[in-house]
Every structure is written in structure tokens, then in C-alpha cells.
């Protein structure tokens, strides 16, 4: 009897593990529940206790994979994998003043079997995916800007041409070409500014919708569409410049035409 009691007292409790909240929700687990964890589907696995439920830091690199994350104490995971005293990587914090590159080079020469790299290099490599996405977005952005520029030019041309009777009258009563040109240019810039304001409003609304949709879909607080003041300013300035350019070209064509010709065409 005493032996059984001693065995029960000496029996090691299952080790703890921390699971992310999405997994806890998917499997209806709470702190204190016991789970069996296996490395392979056919392996016997090990009993473990849910010691904590945590919210992982949002990571854009893994969000689309929609994977569940679990955290172990290092010896527990190594034991589970049958790879005791083996690790994937070691993080090294240097004392202030030590150059990471030179420290990495020195450590790298110590032995074969591992590679030492400064964090900046790893960060640069792991962000390559985002650089590709960013280049793609930029290329799509350029195509959209070209399309908008042509669209704007076309609309401005039509808009200014609509004013040919007014322009003809103004020219016939003695208004100078420059004044007519400036008036048309001003009108074009106003239209462009109004369009830009409407576009910014539309972009703000769509970014809210995009963030709400993807945030809900991937259960993350990451922001997928970001309308920064810089982007807003860029959009407004670009549309104003394009509007001025398009309006200027159309107005120049109009003021170069003789008033009587304009009148006849009206």
C-alpha cells in the first residue's frame, strides 16, 4: 500500500505546453486539460497538460498558412522528437559595442555544422517574400496610374471641349487667350481635386472593408491595407498634377483654335 502511494507521489506529472487561442477554440481546450502530442501519426506520443493559452504575435509571414502554433519547454520538445540536446538555432545577445558582423564571423570559424549570421541578414532574407509582393504591388500601381492618367486626360479633353462655345464667346468679346486658358486650367484642377478627395474617401472605406474582411478571415489584428498620410498626399498630388497636365493640354488645344471655328463647331 505504501509502495503504491509512494509510486503515485513520485509519478511525474505530464509536462505543460502552451497553445494558441485559435487552437484552444478549435479543439475546445482550456487550461488544465490533458492532451496527447505525437511527432508522427503512428508514434505513441506523450501526454501533456495545457499550461497556458496565448495569443501569438501577428506574423505576416505565416498568416496565410493558417497554421496552429504550440509552445513547449525545449527539453520536452527535444524528448518528443527523439533529438535530445539538439536544437535548430541559438539566439546570441552581444554586449554593447560588439559589431554583430565581426562576432558572427568569429563564431562561424569555431566549428562545422552550424552557420552564424547576424539578425539583420536573417531579417533581410526572411523579408524577401514581402519584397516580391511589394514589387508586384508597385508594378500594378504603375499600370493603374497609367490607366487613370489616360482616363483623366480623356475626361478633361471632353470636359474642356464642352466649353468651346463659352471659350469662343469669351475670345470674341476680347478676353485674352491666357485668361481663357487659366480659367479652363483652374476648372480642370478643381475637378481633379474633387476627384482626388472622392478617391481618398473611397480608398479609406475600402481599406476598412479589406482589413475587416481579412482580419476576420485569418483571425488576426494585422492590417492588410494601409492608407498612410504619405500615400494620401501622393494620390492627391498625383491626381492634381495629372489633372493640370490633362486640362492644360486640352485648354491649349482650345485656345489655339480660332473663335469662329469654335463657334461653328459648337
Amino acid at each position: 500500500m505504501l509502495g503504491i502511494l509512494a509510486a503515485l507521489l513520485l509519478q511525474t506529472p505530464p509536462p505543460p505546453l502552451a497553445i494558441e487561442h485559435r487552437l484552444a477554440r478549435a479543439l475546445a481546450l482550456s487550461v488544465g486539460d490533458t492532451v496527447r502530442v505525437r511527432q508522427e501519426p503512428d508514434a505513441p506520443g506523450q501526454l501533456m497538460v495545457v499550461g497556458a493559452i496565448y495569443a501569438p504575435r501577428a506574423d505576416p509571414a505565416t498568416v496565410l498558412r493558417n497554421e496552429f502554433h504550440v509552445r513547449f519547454h525545449l527539453p520536452d520538445l527535444a524528448g518528443l522528437l527523439g533529438a535530445r540536446d539538439r536544437i535548430d538555432r541559438v539566439g546570441v545577445s552581444l554586449v554593447p559595442g560588439v559589431e554583430p558582423d565581426s562576432a558572427a564571423r568569429r563564431l562561424d570559424r569555431l566549428a562545422v555544422g552550424f552557420r552564424v549570421r547576424p539578425s539583420a541578414e536573417i531579417a533581410s532574407e526572411s523579408s524577401r517574400t514581402f519584397l516580391v509582393v511589394s514589387r508586384f504591388h508597385r508594378a500594378i500601381g504603375v499600370i493603374s496610374i497609367v490607366a487613370s492618367a489616360i482616363f483623366l486626360l480623356c475626361i478633361m479633353l471632353l470636359k474642356v471641349e464642352e466649353r468651346r462655345l463659352d471659350a469662343a464667346v469669351m475670345r470674341m468679346i476680347g478676353v485674352r487667350r491666357r485668361t481663357v486658358f487659366t480659367a479652363l486650367l483652374l476648372e480642370a484642377s478643381l475637378v481633379a481635386l474633387l476627384g482626388a478627395a472622392l478617391g481618398i474617401g473611397l480608398a479609406s472605406l475600402s481599406s476598412v472593408v479589406v482589413n475587416a474582411y481579412y482580419g476576420h478571415r485569418f483571425e488576426t489584428d494585422l492590417r492588410f491595407a494601409l492608407l498612410t498620410p504619405g500615400i494620401t498626399l501622393f494620390g492627391a498630388v498625383l491626381s492634381l498634377l495629372l489633372g493640370l497636365l490633362a486640362g492644360g493640354i486640352a485648354a491649349a488645344r482650345l485656345v489655339r483654335t480660332r473663335p469662329l471655328v469654335l463657334w461653328r463647331r459648337g
Binding site: 508522427e40 501519426p41 503512428d42 555544422g113 517574400t129 508594378a139 480623356c154 471632353l158
Partner: protein, 394 residues
């Protein structure tokens, strides 16, 4: 009537040229987005079927080579599958890190242990292939050949299991390069080598009959799903993926690109419609007198509607032709950007120019452009004849 519509358009060369250019850019973007929406899947499917293997077995709950988990009883299972009369070929694959010595440092290699009697991972470019039971041979990619200078027949050093504590390799073999092969699923610049599965197990000290994946080629396509179901019953601890299921899971991971293509495609279609509608509305307004005169001399409302619709269709058609060429050129450029994703198999393309996609995009824009003329055409046909003529005369 087409000639009349073309002449009407030619009356305003600059504005119509700009409109055609605008429609062309919208058509190009639409075409690119249609290609992007379906291209990735088709390209992925084509890559998976490049050697005719329709089924992949992976550890339960995983995709092939997505994790480091391995399958138990792999070679036994693949041998059993090969015995099935419906199966033409089956082979297990085990992945692992290998190294070779280059100068005074180690060159990392992506190692794949294969069963030569049923491998679907590579095609022989030159030299000889591995044979079943080959314990001294290795096949290499052109990238490895370029990095190391190895040629068929060379004897090379292959190392595995480097141990930092004893500062040397824990296992080393001298192997003979049998040939240079093209790895179908390798990323650009990836240094991949292949050896026989038993040798890979010995080098990596992998316990038991384990593998990362088993590939199965079924003789008749209609037997794929029945064979997959039978394997699920035979080995319940194994994830059985047919090409269809793999494509479906791939599609889930690339949701972002599909949705982006849908949004941008819709925007470009909308821009095209807006451009045609605006242009035709203004043109119709300018020609109110002319249209009223036509109506006064007996041209029917239907005739007026047809003329205006035809002008819209002609504008869209011209924009479509230019947009097609522009779209193919931009697709090539955008594909160059996206295929530089790290680790992406070189065989994957995002923008696949297929006749169906091109026709769908062109037809969508042509229909949309023609319909875009409906509002101005209706307005033109409904204008009161006498009032308009009086207005035009004063």
C-alpha cells in the same frame, strides 16, 4: 452601318484615340487578372502531373514536404502499391540535408532519396540514371554541376550529419555521378542531388522504413479516386492527396492573389464601361441635331440605337486588340516579379496565357463596352425630334 460608325469615330481623332488607349490599358489589366486568377492553378496542376503521378502520400495532416514529418513503412507500402494492377508506378522519397566539400568549406545540398523504379521527381538530361539498389551513384542538377564542376563519372564526396560538438562530419561517402537531371519541383538555383533511398537512410541515420512522401502513378485516370480511396483504407495514418486535392489546398493558400485578381479585374472592367459611356454620352449630346435630323427623315429609333451601340463596340474592339498585346507584355513582366518568390518551384507560373483566358477577357470587355453604349443610345433615340431641331436652329 459599320463604315458610318467608323467615320463618326474618326471625326474626333484625339479623344477617340485616347479612349481606345484607355480601354486598351483596362483590357490589358483585365486580361492579366484573368490569367492570374486561373494561371497559378493550371501551372501547379501541370507541374504535379509532369511525370504522370496523380497521387501523393504524406504523413497524416501534412502536405508533401511541408514539414519534416515522415511516413512509416514507406518502401513496403510503395512495393505493395506497385503490386496493384491499376498502379503503373510508385516510389518513396526521403528528403534530407547533405553537404559536399568545396574549397575549405561545406557546400549545402538538398538531398532526395528515391526509388529509381518509381520516381516522379526528375527527368534525365544527360549521363545515366540511378538503378534500383544503386548504393554508389548520385544524380545532380545542372545547378550543382555548375557550382561544383562535377561531371558524369566523377567520384565525389558527400557528407551528412555534421556535428558541431566534434567539429566534423558524422557520415561521409564517396559516390559516382551517374548523370545530370532536371528536378521538376526544385526552386530556381536550388542545389539538389538524388541518391537511392536506402543510401539516403544510411547517410541520414533515419530509423526504419521511413520516407517523406510516396508518389503513385495510376494507369487510367478514372482509377485515380478509387485507388486513393483504397489507399486511405489500407493506410489510415497516411494523408492521401490526389492532384485535385492538392490543387484545392494550393488554391486556399493563394486566396490573396485570386481575390486581388477579382477586384482589379472588376475595376478595369468598370473603368472600360465608364470610359465608353462618358465618351458616347458626350458624343451623342454633340450630335443631337444630327440624330434629330436622321429621325426626321425616317430613320427608326432602333436604327439610331444600333448606330450608337456599334460605335461603342468599335471603340471597345480597337481597345481590345491593343490591350491584348499590352496585356501579354505586362503579364510577362509581372510573372517575372512573382516567380522570384523564394523557394517557389521554377516550373510554376502565375500568368499563363491560355486561349480560353484571353477569349474570356476579350469577350467580357467587348460585351461590357457594347452594353456601356446602351444608356447614351437610349437617350439619343428618345430625344424629341421637333424640340431638338428647333433648339439646334436657334
Amino acid at each position: 452601318m459599320i463604315l458610318v460608325a467608323a467615320k463618326n469615330l474618326a471625326r474626333h481623332r484625339v479623344r477617340n484615340a485616347l479612349a481606345i488607349l484607355g480601354i486598351a490599358v483596362a483590357a490589358a489589366l483585365l486580361l492579366d487578372m484573368v490569367m492570374l486568377a486561373g494561371g497559378m492553378e493550371r501551372s501547379f496542376e501541370r507541374m504535379l502531373l509532369s511525370r504522370g503521378y496523380q497521387i501523393r502520400l504524406a504523413p497524416k495532416g501534412t502536405l508533401p514536404f511541408d514539414t519534416e514529418a515522415t511516413l512509416p513503412g514507406a518502401a513496403a507500402l510503395s512495393a505493395r502499391l506497385r503490386a496493384d494492377p491499376r498502379v503503373r508506378a510508385a516510389g518513396a522519397v526521403l528528403g534530407g540535408a547533405l553537404f559536399t566539400v568545396s574549397g575549405d568549406s561545406l557546400l549545402p545540398l538538398a538531398g532526395l532519396g528515391v526509388e529509381p523504379e518509381g520516381q516522379g521527381l526528375y527527368e534525365l538530361d544527360r549521363g545515366a540514371d540511378l538503378v534500383p539498389g544503386d548504393t554508389t551513384g548520385i544524380v545532380i542538377s545542372a545547378t550543382v554541376a555548375a557550382a561544383t564542376g562535377w561531371r558524369s563519372g566523377d567520384t565525389v564526396r558527400i557528407i551528412s550529419g555534421t556535428d558541431p560538438q566534434i567539429a566534423r562530419a558524422s557520415s561521409e561517402r564517396r559516390l559516382v555521378v551517374r548523370g545530370v537531371v532536371h528536378w521538376l519541383y526544385a526552386a530556381r538555383g536550388q542545389r539538389t542531388v538524388g541518391i537511392a533511398l536506402p543510401l539516403m537512410r544510411r547517410l541520414n541515420r533515419a530509423a526504419g522504413d521511413r520516407a517523406s512522401m510516396i508518389m503513385v502513378k495510376v494507369t487510367r485516370d478514372q482509377d485515380v479516386e478509387p485507388v486513393a480511396s483504397d489507399i486511405r483504407r489500407l493506410a489510415p495514418a497516411v494523408e492521401v492527396n490526389s492532384v485535385t486535392t492538392l490543387v484545392a489546398r494550393f488554391r486556399t493558400r493563394l486566396t490573396y492573389f485570386r481575390q486581388l485578381s477579382l477586384i482589379l479585374g472588376t475595376i478595369s472592367l468598370f473603368v472600360g464601361i465608364l470610359l465608353v459611356t462618358t465618351l458616347l454620352t458626350i458624343t451623342v449630346n454633340e450630335r443631337r441635331g444630327e440624330i434629330a435630323t436622321l429621325r426626321a427623315i425616317g430613320v427608326s429609333r432602333g436604327g439610331i440605337v444600333r448606330r450608337v451601340l456599334l460605335e461603342g463596340a468599335l471603340l471597345t474592339l480597337a481597345g481590345n486588340v491593343i490591350g491584348l498585346l499590352l496585356g501579354l507584355a505586362t503579364a510577362r513582366y509581372l510573372d517575372g516579379i512573382l516567380t522570384s518568390f523564394p523557394g517557389l518551384p521554377a516550373a510554376i507560373s502565375f500568368f499563363v496565357p491560355e486561349r480560353g483566358a484571353v477569349l474570356r477577357a476579350a469577350a467580357a470587355l467587348l460585351v461590357a463596352g457594347s452594353i456601356a453604349g446602351a444608356w447614351p443610345a437610349w437617350r439619343a433615340a428618345r430625344a424629341p425630334i421637333a424640340a431638338t431641331l428647333r433648339e439646334e436652329a436657334t
